[in-house]
Amino acid sequence: MPSLDNYKGQNPAWCPGCGNFAILKALKDAVVELGIEPHQFTIVSGIGQAGKLPHYMKCNTFNGLHGRTLPVATGIRLANHEMLVIAVAGDGDCYGEGGNHLIHAMRRNINVKLFVHDNQIYGLTKGQASPTSTATDKGGMVTKNQPFGILSEQLNPIAMAIALDCSFVARGFAGDMPNLKVLIKEAVTHKGFTLIDILQPCVTFNKINTYEWYKQRVYHIEPEYNPEDRIEAFKKALEWGDKIPIGIIYRNHRPAFEEKIPVIKNLPLVKQSFNISKLEITLKEFL
């Protein structure tokens, strides 16, 4: 069985107090408790503070381009569906630059676990608005490069995911690590695409959505709540402001994309050997 020691990676270059530390710890605890060894999974990450996460633990890693985690993760899963594939991205990375890929990953229901470190701001580029920043007229911030305030509406990734019938939609909070660990474990064992939007305070640039701000608002979704009721899930998704629900908001049981591809029904693509002999027959088709 793997232990936390197996997962010690490089020293993080995040700001002290960053919400990312808790996400990293929750993820490590989750894989340890699930008995998954470092070589048995791959983390695909993009660019931004979240993108650095796989370097701070032990696992196969493809730290690719900004916004492009999901297509790379999709390619890995299609080539080897026995490999657990986790994608970590930030809010700018996934909801801004990579928005199109997110829509289509949900449509496909590729069995990739997406964890979005949502700090409602751009950290690595020093404090610009992100797709999930609150509009200034609704109490949001004013940034250096949005001199008239944030004019665009805040994206609601949870509601968008439910609209796209994403097969697992949850919200976590970096200030509630035990709960986040449970959500990650649920996502990893779910068969299909999973989104966990993780509220993650940026201690350096986001002076509004602080630990304190979130702590006053987040609450655990009631145990009697049924995440398989899509209409109820929409209602839950629209809760934001004084009360912010955390937990599994929506779940369905659509078959994963990989399960529907006949050529990998018996064996992952990467395990299939190549035989040129059939080609003689194919060549005859041109006669």
Partner: protein, 572 residues
Amino acid sequence: MDYSIKIGGEAGQGIQTIGDTLAKVFSRSGYHVFTHQDYESRIRGGHNFFQIRFSDKPVMASREKINILVALDKESIGQHEKELAENGQIIYDSKTLNSQPSTQNSVDIPFVNLAVERSGNKIMANTVATGAVLGMLGMEMDILLEIIKDTFKKKGEDIIKANINAAMAGYDHAIKRCIKCTFSATPLSKPKMLIAGNDAIGLGAIASGCKFYSAYPMTPSTGIMNYIADKAKDYGIIVEQAEDEIAAINMSLGASFAGVRAMTGSSGGGFALMVEGLSLAAMTETPIVIALAQRPGPATGFPTRTEQADLNFALYTAHSEFPRVVFAPGTPEQAFYLTNKAFDISGKYQIPVFILTDQHLADSQWTFDGFDLSKIKYTDYRLRGDAFRNLSEYKRHAFTDNGVSPLGVPGDARHLVVTDSDEHDEEGHIVEDAATRIKMVNKRFFSKLPLIRQEIEPPLLYGHPNPDIVLTGWGSTFGAMKEAVDRLKKECKIAMLHFSEIYPFPSTKKLNYLKILREAHAALCIENNATSQFARLMKTETGYTFTGMINKYNGRPFTIEGLLKEINAILR
């Protein structure tokens, strides 16, 4: 004997079906065949044509003169009547066209009425026309009937019978009516293989063990995806239509990272979106093959036409500095073998390799005696299974003598496979230090490059070994140049230098092409673009300047006569 048949009509009238069927009849009869298509960016209407040339000698480009024009619309007569050769004939159906050609050399054949009378369905008018062409040529019908049986096997006996009746009706009618026909085409020996450029690339990918192809549809590259998708089940390949080209290249890189051979393809506009992915492939040293099928730009340009103006794009695009290989096949046969070589080199050196083609090559069909599968190279360069497990230590980007670090398959061993788009250390983790940066650039670029250079074959010299006149080109101008040499070789010492392995630029060790060029009186660089991109590359790489340039940039390929005219104008 050297005949050209042109089938003209609106999109949606079935021009391609007639053309494909006739081409197959000729190739199965043992003739050398060349077909090319000229179509508009629309599904219905407009004016399109399909041109077939067949001969008892090798043919590899289109001619301007037409022997039989199958006119399915009025426009065909208006536009192409003037292209008729002396013995040329037009066949048409006056009832559907509501007009008649001005020339006496025409035969009115009621395609639609014969279809309705003999097969009960006007949809078979095209089969009537196909039969009529064979009647005009005085060919036997057995091969066409065989093709009809193959094509409609799944649709049942009734459909087969109806099509045979329609074909025979057209055939008999043409024999009776075309008194002035002087054509003669008796079958030759062995059937030949008939294949288009796109299919040859797809086939080459399959023959190279490609397991993953992701792309977004874009003319003229879509045929590659179609061909591979058609064979996906037989060969265990995943073909995924991505949401955009950015996803296409990133998915292919993901699949390649996970341990399978992967490819993507597009045309210029789509490839523009892939550019950051190209540089990702370079930084992560992930093998990938990219088919770039050129069409005229900028922007949307001429979506269905041809140009060779993306050479610079393939050579120089993507930020920073890294090695890449660019192949530009001139024939479907070259496309087949070079696609295989692309996979081999890409896997061996963990670099991106381009197949640079264009609409002309993508859509034109050629005949060959066959492809030799014993020439196909398949070496699995990856570290898998026990070989990976038994290593005591593994670093994805380890420094080695040749710059190539073993590429492990993630999950096959307890060793971790880590890579990064950031500059990284040997293990694949992010670094910021200058010393590692220098070592990594040296590894990726300077260590690999001399080895990659050695893989590149020299241009093909065809014609006189010490020519006075040299026609130089690359990619799809091959056919027109080669036939031009054949036409002129009795008059002068002439040769073609055709470059299909363009970058890294071939050395002169195996063939001193620079000596040949320098000793010629006239060395012409022939390109389907406006700015002589290859001639500039030659100048940059070797310092050599061609004595003259021939450029064509109207979106159409060179014809033999057109090229000869340009050559004569320069030489005179």
